[in-house]
């Protein structure tokens, strides 16, 4: 849709043509996502070492998590990724109404994901399963389970922070488009979508590591 793109995304002074501008934007976003891979990668490595060292304790810890809620949240996040991809599709076509509907769907599904996650945290807090001085666990491997839950809270907490950041940007874009009626630039929506799909991929690996190693 060159006409819509031309109208919505002015060519920057530093770029020779639109392809140059788009490629630069995509590469910048992918370079940042590569740094995010290393951030989460360090946590996954720590998890993998602890999992190999305490396989039985980690299986016991995993059984404390609710597979139904974890699985439901994975469907919800995959749905939000679809909505984000459809929003990007609408932005490239310069179509405001489907863009707003799909961004709204991302906000709703992302909010639902966080609500389910915080319910899980609340449930763990009620059972005394939050690592620290007041940690309570009556199973066979309390220390390994505490380590597992420490990693659970750290990894899902960092993921939830990334989701909050993404939802803030998507919420701002939604409001600006709805209030002013001006469409966001397609390159901006593509960069936001790349980030959101990356956050989805992180959860795709967190889910089996934490919920399915029982």
């Amino acid at each position: 849709m060159p006409d819509a793109t031309e109208q919505l995304q002015p060519l920057g002074e530093s770029f020779s043509d639109r392809a140059h501008q788009d490629l630069t934007g995509h590469l910048g976003m992918w370079a940042w996502l590569a740094s995010e891979v290393m951030l989460f990668g360090g946590l996954f490595l720590g998890y993998a070492i602890a999992r190999v060292t305490y396989p039985e304790g980690f299986a016991e810890g995993s059984r404390e998590l609710d597979v139904f809620l974890g699985g439901l949240n994975t469907y919800v996040l995959l749905g939000s990724s679809l909505a984000m991809a459809l929003a990007e599709h609408a932005a490239k076509a310069g179509r405001r109404r489907p863009l707003l509907i799909n961004l709204g769907a991302v906000l709703l599904l992302g909010g639902l994901f966080l609500a389910i996650k915080f319910y899980e945290y609340y449930d763990k807090a009620l059972k005394g399963h939050v690592p620290g001085a007041d940690f309570e666990f009556s199973g066979e491997h309390p220390q390994a389970v505490e380590l597992f839950l420490f990693l659970y809270f750290t990894m899902t907490g960092l993921h939830a922070l990334h989701m909050l950041g993404g939802l803030s940007v998507i919420g701002g874009t939604f409001l600006r488009t709805a209030v002013t009626g001006r469409m966001p630039g397609p390159l901006f929506v593509t960069a936001t979508a790349l980030y959101w799909h990356f956050v989805d991929i992180v959860w795709v690996f967190l889910f089996p590591c934490l919920y399915l190693v029982r």
């Binding site: 891979v37 984000m84 799909h197 399915l212």
Partner: protein
């Protein structure tokens, strides 16, 4: 909506359908009797899901070589991190 736009939107729904099928397969695998292959199968399915998201939603299937190089760089270095760390941990006596 022109036919080309409609077709690519349908492609996104197909990607989502494939992801839901893979997730359902992962949930099914956890219901089978325990064994060392079970976590490996769950992680293998997660890898397949990540690949489908990267190719279908993040457009890597129609990106140029420079974008693919940037996209795989992080995974490449992560692979080295895991390889060297476990070369140590798994060979300790």
């Amino acid at each position: 909506m022109n036919k080309q736009t409609e077709k690519s939107a349908r492609g996104l729904w197909l990607v989502f359908g494939g992801l839901c099928l893979l997730l359902t397969a992962a949930l099914f695998v956890t219901q089978l009797p325990a064994g060392p292959w079970r976590p490996a199968a769950a992680m293998g399915i997660a890898g397949a899901k990540a690949l489908v998201i990267a190719l279908g939603f993040m457009h890597l299937s129609r990106s140029g070589p420079v974008v693919i190089l940037y996209a795989t760089a992080g995974v490449f270095w992560l692979g080295i991190l895991f390889l060297l760390t476990f070369a140590d941990y798994l060979t300790r006596t």
